[in-house]
Amino acid sequence: MCLLAHRVPISWLALLALGWTACSGGSESDTGAAGAPAAAVAGGWPGPEVGGGGKAGGGGAGASGGAGAAAGVGSSAAAGSSGITSTTAGASGSAGSGGKAGSGGSGGGAPIPPLDCGSEGWAVENHGPPKNRVNYVILADGYTATTVDTLLVSHINLVLKRRFEHESGQPYGRYRKFVNICVMKSLSQNNGIGNGPTAFDGGNGGDRLAAVDEAKVNAYIKAKVPASFEIDWKAVVLNQDKWENTGSRLMLWSGAHAEAAGAALHEGGHGFHQLADEYCAKATGSGCGNDTNQSGSAGKVEAEVNTAGDPTTTDGKWNLWLGTTQKGLNVPDRGATGVQGTFVGSRYVDSGQYRPSSNSMMNSLFGLNVDTSFNSVSREQIIFSIWRAVTPIDSSEPPAGATTDPATLTVNVIDPAVINVDWTVDGVTTSNGGTTLSVAQLAPGVHTISAKAYDNASTDLVKNRTSTCPPSVTGGYCQATSWKRSEQIVTWTVTKS
């Protein structure tokens, strides 16, 4: 049967009218994709800085991405120029070396080149060199040569719109430029899952899990994804409307389901961020239990950072967050998951495990209420995961080291809105001085200049800044150690003639 048919409002049934033909008359096992897009967007992701869409092809899609990105950089550069003329800082008069170094300004640098996703790839998010981005590849299963340009595009757009624009997708909205995404338009001979063979033999993995032939996935990637795209995160989107998703390291979600966007966020929480399910055994979502006010029976210490056996200590995992109220990251701030505490019921048990918030993306992922966002503990973990792959600076101009008579020094950071740069000229530091420093007015001589780039996340977003794991964490391992990668220093020895 068509899973959604009896659960949706009449108005939505009308929207699914074309898809109903494919759903009706089939058995549970052979029900597959909607036959036509409910809200097809054939042109691709409409975001201002993203190319892609339309036919596969790294060149065309990438070129669009490059152009969009270039526009973004251009506006940043304008801000930078303004900063340079209006801001002076640093070495003037210090230590007798004299001169002035103009500081400030963001952006500049070269336009972002196209992202190579291969002949079947759609560069849906292109924000910079793959070697310094989280590279996320999504393969398609159950899409034909026709629906790969219609249904697949609409399924992807829906999912990415929520990930990057809605509060419940945060912190991905904030860190959007840290992620490249290639969607592979892998063709199946049949449309939908359960209607015959597909590219990766997607289907029911039992227990409401989705499953694919992982050997086929690996073989496809080897054959079709360019070597330059160092994959950090891989997923398969299945063209079906069943509630079957999997949060393994190879993440699977059903693209035609009404809650596909939430499912992709939730399963990514498992498969890429090592987050636990925050629901209990009662099958009632956030109704597992109320705030215990840090009391209750202690249970096992699990590996995941967002579930704790001890409500008093949170196993050392989120004691820094206790009692805080999570702020939203979108503007205007409409809040998120509210008070961070110890809520009884988590990781499939009703007692002895505690979750950080009453509701969250890892508890009840459904709907668009902001209380289904990632809670503070999970957001911090996601940020650590992102920093595990990248460092703040893509490149510097000129390269670090000795240089003679440069007009400016520039660090090309992933995103000037997220990364601040402090400039130190002969020992004098200017905080948040932008990505470009004018050194034209420096006095003759040799100067030591460094740029420290760092994540400007406030303590509302990241509290654990020690890059160490709590000793109670199982195995002594955690992702917090990656926070140290969020700071990077480039140093030049500048000779002025």
């Binding site: 659960r7 070697k131 409401r208 995160w233 390291r249 668009l368 595990r388």
Partner: protein
């Protein structure tokens, strides 16, 4: 048929038709359904996917349009959907592989070679299929950290060049290929 008998039969027929008509048209014709027990309620709720699933056409996600409900309250909103799946041995196995591989990743991050080797032995034993193409990569990284140089770099380069589906390529590059 005698006239009297005919009248009786006729009256019965008329009464029957009238009764059928009444039963068909009365507003409360349905037999009340029995109240489900608690156990039945849970069985009904478990497979439900969403209590208030929005139509796709309404998925306009501008934050300004987000309906605001009390957040962080102890009481969940009415009609809160159920969690997305039951917990089974398959789920536990996925959790287990996630846990092992994330621990291995963290051991790589802090360059804990004994930790990598210890966890890798467990991972190989429990997941010999290595469907994620990770095990060789972890071993190569441990080798590079232990004995940096051309001997360990060469197989690492081969892994980097050929195992494109492995999420360890970045870390093989970082710990093997870019180390002096």
């Amino acid at each position: 048929m005698a006239p009297k008998t005919g009248r009786i039969v006729g009256s019965v027929l008329v009464a029957g038709v009238a009764w059928l008509g009444f039963m068909a048209l009365r507003p409360s014709a349905k037999v009340p359904e029995p109240e489900p027990t608690k156990a039945e309620l849970r069985l009904v709720e478990s497979p439900r996917v969403a209590g208030r699933a929005p139509p796709q056409a309404e998925l306009e996600l501008a934050s300004a349009a987000v309906p605001i409900e009390a957040v962080g309250s102890a009481s969940p909103p009415a009609n809160e959907p159920v969690h997305p799946h039951p917990i089974t041995p398959r789920h536990e196995r996925i959790y287990r592989e996630n846990q092992l591989t994330f621990s291995l990743d963290s051991a790589v991050d802090v360059e804990d070679v004994p930790g990598i080797r210890r966890l890798l032995a467990i991972y190989r034993q429990e997941f010999p299929e290595d469907s994620l193409v990770l095990q060789q990569g972890y071993e190569l990284i441990a080798n590079c950290l232990e004995q940096p140089g051309a001997t360990t770099r060469a197989p690492a380069q081969r892994f980097y060049d050929t195992e494109l589906a492995s999420t360890l390529r970045r870390h093989v590059r970082r710990h093997c290929l870019e180390k002096p």
